[in-house]
Symmetry: C2
Subunit: 340 residues, 2 copies
């Protein structure tokens, strides 16, 4: 199986490390063998090696911030789109940065790869939240798979669980803690930190960006909620069609007061059916401490699925991370190979 990396930052490198580490395990356990035929990185350039490149060497070059143009024996392309259009890979692994307003450049990359008959797996929320139906239809038309396990809860296999493992169930509601940064901030505030100090701590640890709006205003959770609304319930809404409130108005006093009543503030993303409508929202909620979501502390994510067959089932796991998100791409690659 010929793989093409598009986007080779934290997530792409996380997958590359996993593939190197697990090459033998994957061959022995699943008969899965692969070649990397190209890597496109915004800064380090776009490299095509038709016979398969030395992943360890390319990874080292990128980590040392050396341009891929100097990779011996490779064809250097002017940009990612040229690489996609001229490569004969079987699967494109798309892990560029998320732009939730335009979905670009990822959506153009995915369109180009599907058009060429490549399977696509992505960790990018933009194309899913904005163009899921169009891209899924294009994949069907081209007879290829379009997978995106990592867009919600990174490698914690929530989409597989919802789409396959719970087959035969009627899912009526999905709600959860979909943003680790805000859950970390709320956890520190319960310990007595002010909002500002908790945010600073999250920034120090690399959980929050210098401009933390995508997390603290709830937009990251909103993108994930929109993906679930589209993929699981067939919803047609765009992210900003749904009500969204972040955590910036929650005070330490309100948190202490809730705690006295056995409650805990959580930023809850929710999708549910109301008649034939699909509804979604993101907002802070007081969750009972005895509910599984009430016990989720720190940067962990969790999702409670309500079904007709089992009542509530909750899955708790990482929602971000180099290896964890890299692993989501591996799940999808194995699935494309009929392994699950």
């Amino acid at each position: 199986m010929r793989l093409l990396f598009v986007g080779f930052g934290t997530v792409g490198q996380g997958l590359a490390e996993l593939l190197l580490e697990k090459e033998k395990f994957l061959a022995e356990n699943y008969g899965f063998e692969f070649k990397i035929v190209g890597i496109a990185d915004k800064i380090m350039g776009s490299l095509f090696v038709p016979e398969g490149l030395d992943l360890e060497k390319a990874l080292k070059m990128v980590k040392e911030e050396r341009s891929l143009a100097s990779y011996p024996g490779g064809e250097y392309k002017k940009d990612a789109l040229s690489l996609i259009k001229e490569t004969d890979a079987d699967v494109m692994l798309e892990a560029t940065y998320t732009d939730i307003k335009t979905g670009e450049p990822a959506t153009s990359y995915i369109r180009a790869a599907l058009e060429r008959g490549m399977h696509v797996t992505t960790t990018n929320k933009g194309p899913l939240a904005l163009y899921y139906r169009e891209l899924a239809d294009l994949a069907i038309k081209k007879g290829v798979q379009f997978l995106f396990e990592g867009t919600v809860m990174s490698g914690t296999p929530i989409l597989n669980l919802l789409r396959e493992t719970l087959a035969g169930s009627n899912i009526t509601e999905i709600k959860g803690i979909l943003n680790g940064t805000t859950n970390y901030i709320l956890t520190r505030m319960e310990e007595g930190f002010s909002y500002e100090d908790a945010l600073n701590k999250a920034q120090e640890l690399g959980y929050a960006e210098a401009v933390p709006d995508a997390d603290v205003q709830g937009w990251d959770a909103l993108a994930k909620v929109t993906i679930l609304a589209r993929v699981i319930f067939g919803g047609k809404g765009n992210p900003f069609d749904y009500p969204c409130e972040g955590i910036t108005k929650i005070t330490a006093g309100a948190i202490a007061d809730a705690k006295d009543r056995g409650k805990r503030f959580k930023l809850i993303g929710k999708v549910w059916r109301e008649g034939s409508d699909v509804k979604a929202s993101v907002n802070p909620e007081e969750v009972d401490m005895s509910h599984p979501l009430g016990g989720i502390m720190g940067a962990t994510n969790a999702m409670t699925i309500t079904t007709d067959t089992l009542g509530e089932v909750t899955i708790v796991g990482p929602g971000a991370g180099r290896t964890e998100t890299g692993y989501s791409l591996l799940i999808d690659i194995l699935k494309i190979n009929g392994i699950k």
Copy 2:
């Protein structure tokens, strides 16, 4: 697909109700259609209807405690084994009572069905904890599937999650709350009930048996742990090869003392690798309240899976119940049909 019920108590009836309720949904969504060609019940008798029986009518008869011998137009068999040996079903749904010491009569039923080339799904812990390898090998030899999602955490799809959804991961440890009755008792004790009062309450609610040993001595959790050791890690041990301690020695004082230190007693079943050995145990542990397992209250089950790719992933859901366990059989039936 021709289905044969063997064991038609709570779980079998739970599945029958689900099949009736979801008949249209399953046909429309998965193209899955079925006939029930036989029902064997220890008390109501064994019925064979080659052209397919009226499930609603048979279910009503059993609920009204009328012998299946009076079902019009059916062939009445002298026992379940005769029925299995003379029926041409595609799948046997085995849901008789669990005997963890002998695995009988379920193991004989499963052997007979596999020998005849039927797929088998069971909710019965006995055959799995004692004869998993033999039965799995027989299924492979006969080219049929042998599935048992309901043996651990009822319909909460933990085995599918471990065996398929986490493909590509190296699982190093599985630990969790695998018995709802004891977790319910511990929850009530934390609220101030004595062990005896909490046990009485559990018996009133139907969670605990009149002789509660299988739950409170940890044997039910031990059977599940043994199944996980065999199925996930290839362990060869029988249930009583592993150390097992129940909850009968935990005092209200110890629970209160743990709580003051931010801990909570849980009956933890655990399986892990130690070099090339597979280890397992059941015993009460003080779990940190900030750990997902520390927050599981009442009769709910939960399991934390440690992997190289994701760190810890926890799944929380029902561990028992009529519909919930019935649904585990439906998961397996759909899987046999290539639907997941």
